[in-house]
Amino acid sequence: MLGHLTLDNVKREVRQEFAFVARNFNLVKRYWAWELVWLCYSTANALAVSFIGAGVGVISPDSNVNTQFLITYLIIGTLVWGFMSQIFNNIAEMIAWERWEGTIEYTFMAPIRRISQMIGQMIFAVLYAMWFVMVIGTAMVLFFDIDLSNANLGGMLVILLAGSVSFAGIGVVGSILPLLYPERGAQMTHIIQAFLLLVSGVYYPTSVLPDWLQFFSQFSPATYVLEGMRTAVLPGSTRSDNLFSYILPLLVIGVVMLPLGVYLFQRAEVYAKRKGCLKRNG
């Protein structure tokens, strides 16, 4: 894949992957006002959802709800979904972004393998998502009393990383849409995201969904990340309580989705080059 494995080839590969990381950080820096707006909105949204947990006891005083449990349950949902959706967005919008700026032809003309482009984009996506969630998490700590003393922090990290690979794979598949559909492709990726939000049990257990929707839940990596994180954090579960049962499906989905996504993307690129879809900007 790297041609001859020489130091020069490795250096070139690393530079090519870093090109996307550096470029995206520069874009974040230059669009700082938009980033700030988005961060404020996301923080307010996460707080609003978590306050539902605090409000249930007031709305229904007779209900026998463990408010602290519910708040933690919702906080995990908002933070994990924030993390996963940032990764998905960053990768799925990799092509849409280039179309908006009009640079897509230059990036596609460069002698870079698509897998290197994806890796660079994925590294940025994970770093950005971590920063994003850390800011929102800090706001949560200021508003709510979150007890992580019994949490399995190592397990949480492994689940998040395994989930990142799976979501990156789905993001790569999503990025095909703006490649093939210059005008509406970016909007189409939001449909994938909305569907994952619905079926993955972000704010509720998937068991409350109709059976036919529960069928789709098992294919969403977010389902396993969320359940795994809740098992690792919420009281009532032992520290290593079956975390592997969540990590294994995440690894399987990641191992299948990432190469599949790259393969499908390459096929779509050939199609786009035959039909002339690279030229038009959405």
């Binding site: 250096k11 070139r12 590969e13 530079r15 090519q16 870093f18 090109a19 550096a22 470029r23 520069n26 874009l27 230059r30 669009y31 700026e101 009009g102 640079t103 032809e105 230059y106 990036t107 596609f108 003309m109 460069a110 002698p111 870079i112 393998r113 093939l180 559909y181 210059p182 005008e183 050939v270 080059k273 035959r274 039909k275 002339g276 879809c277 690279l278 030229k279 038009r280």
Partner: protein
Amino acid sequence: MNKALVVDNVSKYFDGKSEVSLLKQWQARLTGGEIEKPKPINAVKDVTFEVNRREIYGVLGPNGSGKSTLIRMISTLLIPDEGTITVFGCDSVKEEIAVKRMINRVSVDAAFFKKLSPRENLLYGARLYGVSAAEADVTARDILQRLGLRPNSYTAPMEEMSRGMQQKVAIARAFLTQPILLLLDEPTTGLDPRSKREVQAFINELRDTHDATIVLTTHDMQEAEALCERIAILDEGEIVAEDTPDGLKRRVKGDNGNPPTLDDVFLQLTGKHLVKEDESSEEEVIEPVL
């Protein structure tokens, strides 16, 4: 290898746009009526030419003649439907990465991340070609200084620069990777006369000092005559003539008894008017509707 570029019987078709609305097409489907199929449009027709190493080869033609489609195929951004393109012996489809390492392109639209500075854009472009940021930074400053870009513009957002200045950065981006085949698709459109001369001098220098081969498309006949050793005239996707500038001029008659110019060649061989520079935006490739 003496042949830098071989374009062999290359054709490109695009799906045409149907004149009938989608609703009427579905109606026809449901009622069993005849469905109008979009007619494919032949943007490039059986084009063949060769460019020698260190040659500056011009492709002239009116808007919509297929120049940019041809350049895109050589750039690996489009796949030919028929024929083959080889760059220094490497097939543009089968050995795409090898071809990409040898080429770079400047197009009429200087496409950049507009919020980023020339420095940020150029380092991004250089890294994509595996060039180190430190090396690229020094070379970029040098090229931009040669092209007359003010030093303080190097770190300001691209969106604050004039179109001509942006075009200079686009030229620097292509030169930065030291391509041995440089594709210049109307590179001086939008530049003032002084900048044009600076760019033209730089193109000559690149050929002489860096052993580069250059394919140039332009609407500027003076530029073509000053730079190109041979010129192909493209009209409606076909090469209608190919020769040295003097050879082409010998084929036509001059206007009002004057010696023939490349303008006369263009007008008489294509039967079309010259396009004023400010009208010469990138030619429209027939776009697919998806």
